[in-house]
């Protein structure tokens, strides 16, 4: 039984006046097992962000279903969707999406406060999480006072604090310098090793080479996938690069 299962997902965008329609996703099916670290790669416009939005229940597919642990996402009622997201999913975004009106601490608490948890419990969870993420020192600061890497670590803490079934990350290294990127990827790896399932959308080969499996998406379909197996990051990097080159040349596999 997979943790997450996407079946025959199709997404068609209509332009505003109902004229031309764009098929962002044609027919996408895949599964994610518990404890897996999956990266989805593709160029801009390949449909990967659309896919992530559908997985996150931020958007509805035109056809197809998404199942998270027996629960069919597409059938969750509109008014329960936010609650479902809060309880089951954790998000990490490219541009952090931290609220500038909150300190980092309060940003991390946000989902728990929304779930109506007690302050003592929130604090306990954060205290056990903060050292691992290396944000113990800066927790009282405001987003504008800290670096991009620190912001992203706070965002990861916010995603983790609800003990989500799966973390969905959208280009998490996109706005970071290379050192911060490395740190974040190391963090993801560590989190994954503790048993956390991660699904990451990226077009950074380096980021993808950390994952245990990489899916390639092109023109709205899953084009190819590779498993890391026992390979090192470096070997994985090479494999991904080769696949990307192949993709770019338009070859069939």
């Amino acid at each position: 039984m997979s943790l997450l299962e996407a079946k025959n997902i199709k997404k068609i965008y209509k332009t505003r006046f109902g004229g031309a329609s764009v098929e962002a996703l044609k027919n996408v099916s895949f599964t994610v097992e518990k404890g897996e670290y999956v990266a989805i790669m593709g160029e801009s416009g390949s449909g990967k962000t659309t896919l992530l939005n559908i997985l996150a229940a931020l958007d509805k597919p035109t056809e197809g279903t998404v199942i998270l642990e027996d629960k069919e996402l597409t059938k969750v009622k509109e008014k329960d969707v936010a609650m479902f997201r809060r309880d089951n999913l954790g998000f990490v975004f490219q541009d952090f999406n931290l609220l500038d009106t909150f300190s980092l601490e309060d940003n991390i608490y946000l989902p728990l406060v929304l779930a109506g948890k007690k302050h003592a419990e929130m604090k306990q969870r954060l205290d056990s999480l903060a050292p691992a993420l290396g944000i113990g020192e800066i927790i009282k600061k405001y987003p504008y006072e800290v670096s991009g890497g620190q912001k992203q670590r706070a965002a990861v803490a916010r995603a983790l604090i609800t003990n989500p079934k799966i973390i969905l990350a959208d280009e998490p290294t996109g706005a970071l310098d290379s050192k911060s990127s490395d740190e974040l990827l190391a963090l993801f790896k560590k989190v994954n090793q503790m048993g956390q399932t991660i699904l990451m959308v990226t077009h950074s080969t380096k980021a993808a080479s950390n994952a245990s499996r990489v899916l390639f998406i092109k023109d709205g379909v899953i084009f190819h996938q590779i498993y890391k197996g026992e390979a090192t990051d470096r070997q994985m990097y090479q494999k991904i690069s080769d696949t990307l080159t192949l993709l770019a040349q338009g070859g069939d596999n």
Binding site: A56, K79, F91, N97, L99, D100
Partner: protein, 676 residues
């Protein structure tokens, strides 16, 4: 570059920002038209040919000045909000190769267009509405309508000049704003990371203290004269206090709430408290302006309307009977009494000759002496020019001496006095024990009596200053003891007054005719030159003058209130729009993190409601604390009807509240449209 390029840029820029510019220009038009109407009524000869026309015109002239000053401040404020919202656009132009001169040209044409629309539109509407305003005014003061329609070139010219000047200042300010910012800053002007507001205990508490000290002054003042002096101090303190409190104090409050973990980490408090802290820092000034404008409207409307509604009562207080004769003189002599009774006899005879009789006669004579009350003593030998300490106007008091016989006659009581004891009625805060000293004389007080007896109100100045009414059974003896005291100019301080008022049962025109005859008879034949002043006034003749004053104030109050309210609406509208843009992205993030749409709506709703309710609640508190001092000021006009003032205030609050709620509803829609 092609001619007409800059005007085109200006037009398209304004069109694209129509959501901001349309209400702005509409407000400008309204301001110009009200200015024109006030100027027309105040400076042309439309209002002529009735008693009090001069007073009415003076008031409207004052209104014209207020309009010009307020217009300048307000349009300045609005314009800078507008420009702030467009700095990004100007930044883009600047990146595309426009220099500051070019940007200045665009701003120039924009201001030119606004100026032209506002002035032509405002004057056109002003001309259209001027007749309506004039008729409304005439109706209000109850004089016949005229059929002339006047367009005054002088008023048009003044309006054009004044508003051209205002718009010129506005242009300079906008050009300065754009000139002193860099292209890159212009582009990022809305994204500069804002520091989280720090709670500043010192400033927050100072603001509160300033506001409270204003309150204390407003509540503590007892007498109208001191009210006149302290009113503006109180107003200024309250205004400054409101601004500081709303800007710094509210942030402080939010921070205190955040410290309380149990309160803060609740779903409905968490988001609203933290974003309120931000919002207050940015919008505290706006909220304070809204609050002050609302307070001004409430105070102006409740005072002028209750003055206007109470005009008959005030008239009756000033002129208790149809015919009111009076005389006064310095010093005291028993001859005065004799002259007075001779005057009374002659007047009654004259009344009978006219074919009617004097009814409900009020006849009083009394002496008064003024001084400064301290420690149970009224000091009468103080030279105000040499006083070292500041004068507490609540302690300036007048002592009125009246004979026991007159007192019993006026009140219908049968008091008896002996051994030189006196009865004393006090008006004001003048504490004394069982004896009271006036100058060097000390009187044993037999009893304190009420100063609220109807007929006692005819004594003195209707409670403008603190007063003591001293009833004695030896009037002549007591008065003689004070007659030689003189002030620093050498004039006797004791003043003797005589009042003689009666009804005739005549209708208004006959009443006036009779009064005219009586007046000339008194002046030409009775008046012997012994008296400082003798006069006879009839109530109906004075009515027009009274009504014009009160009606004029009420009319002015309405016009100014309309302008203040419209300004208020505009500030609120801009606030909602700018907050809408701010909250747009926040709205998105919260949704992604798992806040339901309903949660968000609720949180935003409660937040907006709080932010919205603060100004009107505070305005009501301001009104409540200022009302006592306003009441004292109204007493200067002879208005002493507290229930009516309270009712007017209540109605004003109600009307304002409903109007405010309507604005809230409409502008919050504008907000949701942006956010959703």
């Amino acid at each position: 570059m092609k001619a007409g390029f800059y005007p085109k840029m200006a037009v398209s820029g304004m069109r694209k920002n129509g959501r901001l510019y349309v209400p702005y220009i509409a407000t400008c038009i309204l301001m110009v038209s009200v200015f024109y109407i006030m100027h027309l009524l105040g400076f042309s000869n439309i209002l002529e040919g009735f008693a009090g026309a001069g007073t009415a015109r003076d008031m409207l002239r004052l209104g014209t000045v207020v309009m010009a000053v307020f217009g300048t401040i307000f349009l300045f404020y609005t314009q800078s909000t507008l420009i702030k919202g467009r700095l990004k656009e100007f930044g883009l132009y600047s990146v595309l190769g426009m220099n500051r001169r070019n940007l200045g040209k665009i701003i120039f044409f924009e201001t030119l267009i606004t100026w032209f629309t506002a002035v032509t539109g405002g004057i056109a509407i002003g001309i259209g509405l001027s007749k309506l305003a004039e008729l409304g005014f005439r109706k209000m003061i109850g004089i016949g309508s005229s059929y002339k329609f006047i367009i005054s070139w002088q008023s048009i010219l003044t309006t054009v000049i004044v508003y051209s000047f205002i718009f010129f200042l506005i242009f300079l300010n906008a050009a300065r704003k754009v000139r002193f910012s860099r292209a890159i800053n212009l582009i990022h002007s809305d994204k500069t990371g804002e520091k989280p507001p720090k709670a500043n205990w010192f400033i927050g508490i100072t603001g509160l203290l300033i506001m409270l000290s204003g309150y204390v002054i407003a509540l503590k003042i007892e007498q109208p004269l001191s009210a006149l002096i302290w009113f503006f101090v109180a107003v200024i303190l309250i205004i400054i206090g409101t601004y500081i409190t709303l800007i710094a104090g509210s942030v402080l409050l939010c921070r205190i709430l955040q410290k309380n973990k149990k309160y803060y980490y609740k779903t409905n408090h968490f988001v609203s408290v933290s974003s309120m802290a931000y919002r207050m820092k940015r919008n505290g000034a706006g909220l304070a302006s809204i609050c002050i404008l609302l307070t001004m409207v409430l105070v102006i409307m409740s005072s002028t309307s209750s003055l206007y509604l109470n005009r008959e009562e005030v008239l009756h207080n000033h002129y208790p009977r149809q015919i009111n004769c009076s005389a006064n003189n310095y010093g005291f002599s028993e001859d005065y009494e004799k002259t007075a009774s001779k005057l009374e006899d002659e007047i009654i005879k004259k009344t009978n000759e006219f074919g009617t009789e004097a009814k409900d006669i009020i006849s009083i004579s009394y002496c008064d002496i003024s001084g400064y009350f301290e420690n149970g003593k009224l000091n009468v030998d103080i030279n105000p020019l040499e006083m070292t300490t500041t004068i507490d106007y609540d302690k300036v008091a007048v002592a009125y001496f009246i004979s026991l016989e007159d007192y019993n006659g006026l009140t219908g009581k049968e008091e008896v006095l002996s051994n030189g004891e006196v009865l004393v009625a006090v008006n004001g805060n003048l504490p004394f024990e069982d004896s009271i000293s006036i100058g060097s004389e000390t009187f044993k007080v037999a009893k304190k009596i009420s100063s609220n007896e109807d007929n006692l109100k005819n004594i003195g100045m209707n409670g403008l200053v603190s007063s003591l009414i001293i009833v004695t059974d030896d009037f002549n003896g007591v008065a003689s003891r004070f007659k030689d005291i003189s002030d620093y100019r050498g004039e006797p301080m004791l003043v003797w007054e005589w009042k003689f008022a009666f009804d005739t049962g005549l209708d208004e025109s006959q009443e006036q005719e009779f009064n005219n005859r009586l007046r000339s008879y008194i002046m030409d034949e009775l008046y012997t030159g012994d008296f400082y002043l003798v006069r006879s006034e009839c109530r109906s003749e004075q009515r027009e003058d009274f009504v014009t004053t009160f009606g004029g104030l009420f009319f002015l109050g309405i016009l100014l209130s309309v302008i203040f309210l419209v300004s208020c609406v505009l500030i609120i509208y801009y606030k909602q729009i700018s907050e809408g843009f701010e909250d747009q992205s926040r709205f998105g993030i919260m949704q992604k993190v798992g806040m339901t749409k309903e949660d968000i709506r609720n949180s935003i709703n409660s937040q907006m409601l709080t932010v919205f309710i603060i100004p009107i609640i505070l305005a009501c508190i301001h009104l409540a604390t200022v009302l006592p001092i306003v009441h004292k000021l109204l007493m200067l006009f002879g208005h002493n009807n507290v229930p009516l003032l309270l009712i007017s205030a209540g109605i004003c609050v109600l009307v304002c509240g409903v109007f405010y709620a309507a604005i809230y509803k409409v502008t919050s829609n504008a907000y949701y449209k942006i956010v959703a």
